[in-house]
């Protein structure tokens, strides 16, 4: 495969737009659907490793004017705030003047306090809370290692940021149980002043090899959920911004076929606490699979980003990912608006990167696109109400 890699891989120069940094794999809670295998390890990234990471990334010609930095664990806030004070100062010092960094923290919220809130405000970091809706839905899966629910504590963090006027978004993991409750979820977000939400699904990935969402009957429920949520959002404009609806409409309006950043080498670069460098799906960082000897393509201590593309492992995995994208392009009617699916989901659902359809893409790409298109069509078809209450175009 390696001799013709350039003819297989998409050779359009990518832009490195997202740097995922793992300050620690450790998480202070133990969600039932978590894909991370190393979340009991309390190892942390050293500032020396971070410094090397900055040097490698900032020296890359793939970086242009803007770089999103996602601090993603484990739970990133288990690393002391003082470490981040030093880390962001270091990054600012290393950052070229032409480059703007945007920091993001995805957190379970349990450790957020006034000091963290001030830090988020001062650094203009974007904060995402992981909240699965009302307490019973949330606490069914998002528990401490002692089995206690975490809803009350994350909602305390929500109120803290709201009191300080800080924006945040929420990511909700949808399990089968949540699919029956779109109205309750919508009301929960609105009543709690949550303005932006993204829906992830319970994925088959890494250390979580099962999902409550497997099965065609679940797909029907999932479609019903999206359809209903679209209606709720459409009928109450600007109360709630839903990432899936926004991004799907954006993809529909795009002139060119969509590409998926997870399928483009170096569009996303993930760096582990130990300096391990990976790319493609961030979930591959630290993951294990019987077909591959890991997904580390190098280490900041020894590799420039440019070195990585010459490694046999990178070429093998990159080639298989691109073959999967090509197979999607040949066989899937959704390809133009999808870009070939997520490599990590293909691997952990089917055992291969060159696979095509997965549960993940049926739900998060196909079903969402179908329901958004159908939802818009319904409103295009609806006769317009005249001022006198009659319908335009209807005798």
């Amino acid at each position: 495969m390696s001799e013709n890699i350039d003819t297989v891989l998409d050779t359009t120069p990518p832009r490195l737009g997202l740097l995922v940094l793992q300050p620690t794999p450790f998480c202070n809670i133990d969600c039932s659907y978590c894909y991370l295998s190393g979340r009991e390890s309390k190892a942390t990234m050293s500032l020396e490793t971070l410094d090397l990471a900055c040097q490698r990334v900032f020296a890359s010609p793939l970086v242009d004017e803007r770089l999103e930095v996602a601090w993603h664990g484990g739970e990133p806030l288990v690393v002391p705030l003082a470490w981040y004070e030093n880390a962001l100062a270091l990054m600012a010092k290393r950052c070229p003047t032409r480059l703007r960094l945007e920091h993001r923290f995805q957190t379970n919220g349990l450790l957020v306090n006034d000091d963290w809130a001030r830090f988020f405000a001062r650094t203009k970091a974007k904060v995402g809370f992981s909240i699965d809706g009302p307490a019973d839905l949330h606490d069914a899966n998002r528990r401490t290692r002692r089995g206690q629910g975490t809803h009350e504590r994350v909602m305390r963090a929500v109120r803290l940021l709201q009191d300080k006027g800080l924006a945040f978004h929420v990511i909700t993991v949808l399990t089968e149980r949540a699919l029956d409750e779109p109205e309750r979820l919508f009301d929960f977000y609105v009543q709690n002043g949550i303005r932006e939400v993204g829906f992830n699904i319970e994925e088959i990935e890494g250390a979580h090899p099962h999902s409550s969402l497997v099965g065609r009957d679940i797909e029907t429920k999932f479609r019903r959920f999206i359809r209903r949520f679209f209606e709720l959002v459409w009928n109450a404009p600007n109360l709630l911004q839903v990432r899936e609806l926004e991004s799907t409409i954006g993809l529909l309006l795009a002139n060119d076929p969509v590409r998926d950043e997870q399928n483009l080498p170096f569009a996303i670069v993930s760096i582990g606490h130990d300096g391990t460098i990976s790319t493609f799906s961030p979930e591959l960082l630290g993951a294990h699979h019987s077909r591959f000897d890991g997904f580390a393509f190098g280490n900041v201590a020894t590799h420039q980003l440019a070195d990585i593309e010459h490694s046999a492992r990178f070429r093998s995995i990159g080639g298989e990912i691109q073959q999967g994208v090509e197979a999607c392009k040949r066989t899937c009617r959704y390809f133009r608006w999808c870009g070939g699916g997520a490599p990590a989901n293909k691997l952990f659902e089917t055992g291969r990167f060159d696979a095509t359809e997965t549960m993940h893409c049926r739900l998060t790409r196909q079903a969402v696109l179908d329901e958004v298109v159908a939802g818009i069509e319904i409103h295009i078809k609806q006769p317009k109400v005249r001022n006198d209450g009659s319908y335009a175009g209807v005798p």
């Binding site: 409409i249 609806q382 006769p383």
Partner: protein, 80 residues
Amino acid sequence: MSNQSDRRASLAQGSTIVSLAAVIACTFASDALASQSAAPPGEHELAARVATIVERIRLVDPTLLRNVPPELKVAQWRNR
């Protein structure tokens, strides 16, 4: 349209309050063609259905198509 520039500004800024879904909803709410030419759901292939929607938006407010933030034109990693 009287609120055209407001919508463009909202799109360009990627506002956290004004959503694309809401902008499209407002577009069709004031669309004089809305009841005349839509294809029945399921009659066309997906591409044709999407093209119909896009064409309708183009007729009503072409600036919406030009001002979609670039990050919404790429399928993005969802854990952020």
